[in-house]
């Protein structure tokens, strides 16, 4: 029986071994760069991974991509970083699952002499400076600007007057908080637009559905909703369909393929396009330059833009 257990474990492991063999062998000797994402099952991060992998191929870099099973699992992400430190990667690119919770992991990488590039989500500057952690660069979108674009779009659609709801991301997430701030600041110039409800749907589609359904119950005259991510926006779209309402302007964030379709069909008004693929590519490119001893910028801004019915076809072609 004991032998059986060993046998089964060996079989399972050799199976996984063969499945990762591909990535390791062809570029042995090449510098090893790790990209640790929040999750591997969100379209945004799948795009990021693709962009990073293409760039790695171009540069001849050995790229390892890892992610926790769940986007909010900060402890699992820390474990992944610790484990990658053990494999002595030359550089670490991380999209933090928690802006503050990532700091101890950064400290550990610092101690091991491995440079850390932060992608997509900023590290809390206070937490970082308190622990004297060092980050080589931040590569990401200007989320504040994106939130502002969304706010301006909604203000224009409503003619400067009306009731608006907001679906927030997980509180304390820097990306969501910045989008929210940008959105609110944009609406400050139009005092006749009122935010009647602002609640979290934890970045999730089913929660976007439920929360917006509840908002529709208590605020039947809501005219627009800004969701801090497309997944939550698509949940809201379904809630609107279920309530048989029309004419509510839904604005999301991320410009996922499904959101683009929804904009084409007219069920969503707009979304903000980030370029996760570009982000992934820039991460690998800059990590590579860092390893070669070249200087890189502290902050690398990845462009964003508003996607509406007018340009949804054009941006589709771009990606």
């Amino acid at each position: 029986m004991r032998k059986n257990l060993i046998l089964i474990l060996s079989v399972i492991l050799s199976f996984t071994f063969t499945s990762c063999q591909r990535g390791n062998d062809q570029t042995s000797g090449a510098p090893k760069i790790a990209l640790v994402m929040k999750t591997a099952n969100n379209p945004f991060f799948i795009e990021m991974q693709k962009g990073a992998e293409e760039e790695a191929k171009k540069l001849g870099v050995n790229l390892v991509v890892q992610a926790a099973e769940r986007e909010v699992d900060v402890e699992k992400q820390m474990q992944i970083v610790e484990n990658l430190i053990q494999t002595k990667v030359a550089a670490l690119c991380v999209t933090p699952s928690g802006s503050r919770e990532i700091v101890p992991a950064i400290e550990k990488a610092n101690r091991a002499g491995i440079p850390v590039l932060i992608i997509d989500t900023r590290v809390d500057p206070k937490a970082l400076s308190e622990s004297q952690g060092k980050v080589a660069s931040f590569i990401g979108s200007d989320n504040y600007e994106g939130g502002k674009l969304a706010g301006e779009f909604i203000a224009k659609q409503l003619g400067g007057k009306g009731k608006v709801a907001v679906l927030e991301g997980i509180p304390g997430h820097e990306t969501g908080d910045s989008r929210l701030r940008g959105f609110r600041d944009a609406l400050k110039t139009t005092p006749e637009i009122e935010i009647v409800a602002s609640q979290t749907a934890n970045w999730e589609r089913d929660q976007g559905f439920n929360v917006f359904q509840n908002i529709l119950q208590s605020h039947q005259d809501v005219q627009a909703v800004f969701a801090c991510s497309d997944l939550m926006a698509l949940g809201a779209v379904e809630a609107i369909a279920a309530a048989k309402k029309t004419g509510i302007v839904v604005v999301g964030f991320d410009a996922s393929a499904e959101a683009r379709d929804a904009i084409g069909r007219g069920t969503m008004g707009a979304t903000i396009a980030q370029s996760p693929a570009t982000m992934g590519a820039l991460a690998v490119e800059n990590a590579y330059r860092l390893i070669k001893g070249e200087g890189i910028k502290d902050e690398i801004v990845v462009p964003i833009k508003l996607v509406t019915k007018e340009n949804v076809g054009a941006t589709n072609a771009n990606n």
Binding site: I6, F15, F17, G23, K126
Partner: protein, 321 residues
């Protein structure tokens, strides 16, 4: 208690045999990983794995006690989150460290005792009582913090996670101490013997004069308190207490317990087995990371190992009878 002692002795060989089986599973895993990657069998990585195992391992001690009584505790992850944010907010409010730590443990204990009372006095099935607590504790943690993490602590507190004694990380030492104590309690004390007796045959335990209510409540209280301890270590490790921390930890703790040979039917199990189970899970995750295996495949592997371990366990049990 005579019948408790007999149950123990009767199961002695199957206990022992199964622990050996689990242990050789762990060793087999180590050998395979050693062959596959040069980064695995290094002192720094082994300490790294041990440290990563601590939190689930400590939660799993409480889970082992609960499962031996033929119960289940689904609330451990949420209780961990609640205890963590209570302690963190008290630390931020300037409470001295020892008091804040006691408050963290106390919050866990309280939640656990409520679980126990719901099950014993309220006569709710453990699944339902702790499912309810899972939601109540999570909601309390979120309400208490308005959904935001509480972060940034003094070096003294953080050293609970970052410190080491002769190179061994403090959390690992705490974990080993907890296991030593739990092993002693389970084997040598009334509480331990009654835990087996209740799980083996609750009716018989009751008839032989064991105060089942009190001991069962103590067991759930213990599970809650250990969640509080895990919360302290997790908060120190991340330098942050999150109201959404500990999600799915109940499942990892149940997995570690079951891999370690504790029967979900109750009446048998050991904490030594659970420790090995927790290490198997940590070693697997670590090894798969070192090998660069995608998180999707990792889930398949971990699930397969749980199933394989229980299949083998059942095979051994059948042979033992």
């Amino acid at each position: 208690m005579r019948s408790g002692g007999l149950t123990l002795r009767g199961n002695f060989f199957s206990h022992y045999g199964r622990q050996l089986g689990t242990l050789s599973g762990l060793l087999g895993l180590v050998v395979v990983l050693w062959a596959l990657t040069p980064h695995f069998l290094t002192v720094s990585n082994l300490l790294n794995v041990a440290e990563q195992a601590t939190i689930i391992a400590i939660v799993a001690v409480g889970m082992t006690f609960v499962i031996i009584t033929a119960g289940i505790d689904l609330s451990v992850g949420s209780v961990l989150a609640f205890a963590g944010v209570v302690m963190a907010s008290l630390l931020h409010a300037g409470l001295p460290l020892p008091l804040a730590l006691v408050a963290g443990l106390g919050t866990g204990l309280l939640c656990g005792v409520v679980n126990g009372l719901l099950i014993t006095v309220g006569r709710l099935p453990p699944f339902i009582a702790t499912l309810g607590m899972m939601s109540v504790a999570r909601g309390s943690a979120l309400m208490f913090t308005e959904g935001r993490p509480i972060s940034g602590f003094a070096e003294g507190f953080r050293s609970l996670a970052t410190g080491d004694v002769l190179g061994v990380p403090v959390p690992v030492i705490i974990m080993l101490a907890i296991y030593a104590i739990a092993h002693f309690v389970l084997r040598r004390t009334k509480l331990g013997r009654y835990t087996y007796a209740i799980g083996g045959n609750e009716e018989a335990a009751l008839l032989s004069g064991i105060n089942v209510r009190i001991y069962k409540t103590m067991v759930y209280g213990l599970a809650g308190m250990l969640s509080g301890l895990a919360a302290i270590l997790l908060t120190a490790r991340l330098n942050s207490a999150q109201p959404i921390a500990g999600m799915n930890y109940e499942l990892d703790a149940i997995a570690a317990t079951v891999i370690g040979g504790t029967s979900l039917l109750g009446g048998e199990g050991t904490v030594v087995g659970t420790l090995i189970g927790a290490l198997i899970m940590a070693v697997l995750r670590n090894g798969l990371n070192l090998l660069g295996v995608s998180s999707f495949i990792q889930q398949i592997v971990i699930g397969s190992v749980i199933i394989a371990a229980v299949l083998i366990d059942m095979g051994l049990k059948r042979r033992g009878k």
